[in-house]
């Protein structure tokens, strides 16, 4: 039996990497697949642009998540099995929470993009108070 203080850290790191990387890939694929539906609606008639925006968003997602996962990997402790499990759980919890924040931010960005295109088609928020007969104007009015 090794008495090295960090004897359990290597399995912790391996388990962390084995969970964090597939998780990020899975999330990015989900984002790519379902984000495409949103973006196709937003960039109506420009499927190439929608695809490009989608890919760029996913690349950003990968960079952010993998970079962050790598940054928070360094762990202290791990002298016993219990401590090692605790360290692993804490790391994964922090990673998942930050992935959740990034994910909801991403959804919000999608929502904003979609909202901007929808809002351009909406009628005025208030019904007119009176109606007068529409009339033809002889000359086009000068641009202000």
């Amino acid at each position: 039996m090794e008495t090295d203080a960090s004897s359990f850290l290597v399995p912790v790191y391996v388990a962390y990497a084995a969970i964090a990387v597939p998780l990020t890939i899975g999330l990015a694929r989900t984002l790519f697949k379902h984000g495409a539906v949103f973006l196709e609606d937003v960039f109506d008639g420009k499927p190439k642009l929608a695809d490009a925006v989608n890919r760029l968003l996913v690349v950003g997602f990968y960079l952010l998540n993998l970079g962050y996962a790598a940054l928070i990997m360094k762990a202290e402790g791990g002298r016993s099995v219990v401590e090692a499990v605790e360290v692993l759980a804490w790391k994964l919890g922090a990673l998942l929470l930050s992935l959740g924040v990034v994910h909801f931010f991403n959804l919000y960005v999608f929502y904003r993009i979609r909202r901007r295109t929808q809002i351009a088609l909406l009628p005025p928020p208030i019904a007119p108070q009176m109606r007068i007969p529409p009339r033809e104007y002889a000359s086009a009015f000068p641009a202000p």
Partner: protein, 136 residues
Amino acid sequence: MNRLTILYDATCALCVRCRDFLAQSHAYLPLELLASQAPAARERYGEVPWLGEELVVASDDGDVWIGPAAFLVCLWALRDYREWSFRLSGDVFAPLAERFFVALSSNRRSIARFFGPVRCEDGACEIPHAPRRMYR
């Protein structure tokens, strides 16, 4: 609806500033800025009872908004503020927005004094240093 005619009070400096703001904002549809004192306004919209007293917005197909509703339609016409027009006409903010716009409209002459000197001669105000534009 293809364009809006905005009938503002040309004898009020605040309104003239707002007109300049509207003229240089990006709008979803063309805006015609017409002084409500102008003969053309009297001729075309003479049957609107509050013409000259309240802000009046008329669309080319004959819809007319008056007072607070007209302010909201002005916001609705602008690219950067359309979202605000929906927010301010929602259940939460509508009573507040209405009171705000009524207060703004009825105190427009005293509010204008906070923005510095203006010349109001011959029934039309002029903002010093503002770029001169042509309005019908």
